[in-house]
Symmetry: C2
């Protein structure tokens, strides 16, 4: 069967240097760098910043206008204060605020920002989703093998 | 600093039942289910299928036309045959083919499909990126703490 995993998340960028500066300002460190692409190690998977036109070509639709927003990436935090601290840092790094962190209906606390290319990040505390020491989320129930 | 991690990937969907049927056809198993949302455990992080209008509202921009394609999710495989098998299964599940798996310039083998909501997945074999027994990617170099 198709494995239930993601090993790489790629963000298309219109300006790789600008994108790199943004993630560097968040404190992120590049793991691999090549022409037109940079990779960050996230712990079991990687996140790439990659030229958006090249990403469109890679998908076999070089003329497509690629969009953002219908897929979001979230960082979960152990408490609200950590969400607020990450929010402050993101705005200082040049993020566009979409929704400042606030209590939300599902019992957590969450805010959204967009990176310089419009990629949407959520910063959240979910009291029902504990994080382990490495910041990983455990499944609620182990899926059958 | 902002931790270098992703704990949740959310895919906006226009039809949750249709999206669930697609991922079920890939062999994925739901870990948590609530009204309008379903979560899959990916090993340290989760992937959510979530009503797209609700996702827009969550971002504080209910009228935004959320787009796809500028961010892609990839699954890496240990060899080309595994990529081909996953590709065949994805098409059987109803994926829209974007680019059939083929050798690519960076020395690997890769194809792209779109899920029923237009979310773009890459299926890839990268001979320079070994996977551990759990299907996780190791960093090339450990980032400084």
């Amino acid at each position: 069967m198709t494995p239930q995993r993601v090993t790489l998340i790629t963000l298309g960028t219109g300006d790789l240097d600008r994108a790199l500066a943004f993630y560097a300002a968040l404190g992120w460190q590049v793991d691999e760098r090549a022409e037109g692409v940079a990779f960050f190690a996230l712990g079991g998977l990687k996140l790439a910043l990659f030229d958006r036109a090249a990403l469109a070509a890679d998908q076999g639709r070089p003329d497509a206008a690629l969009g953002t927003g219908a897929i979001t990436l979230a960082q979960n935090f152990p408490d609200r204060a950590a969400v607020d601290a990450a929010w402050t840092r993101a705005l200082a790094a040049g993020a566009a605020p979409l929704k400042a962190p606030e209590p939300v209906f599902w019992g957590g606390y969450s805010g959204y920002f967009a990176d310089p290319d419009g990629h949407v990040w959520e910063l959240a505390h979910n009291p029902f989703w504990p994080l382990d020491a490495e910041g990983r989320l455990a499944p609620v129930s182990d899926p059958a093998p």
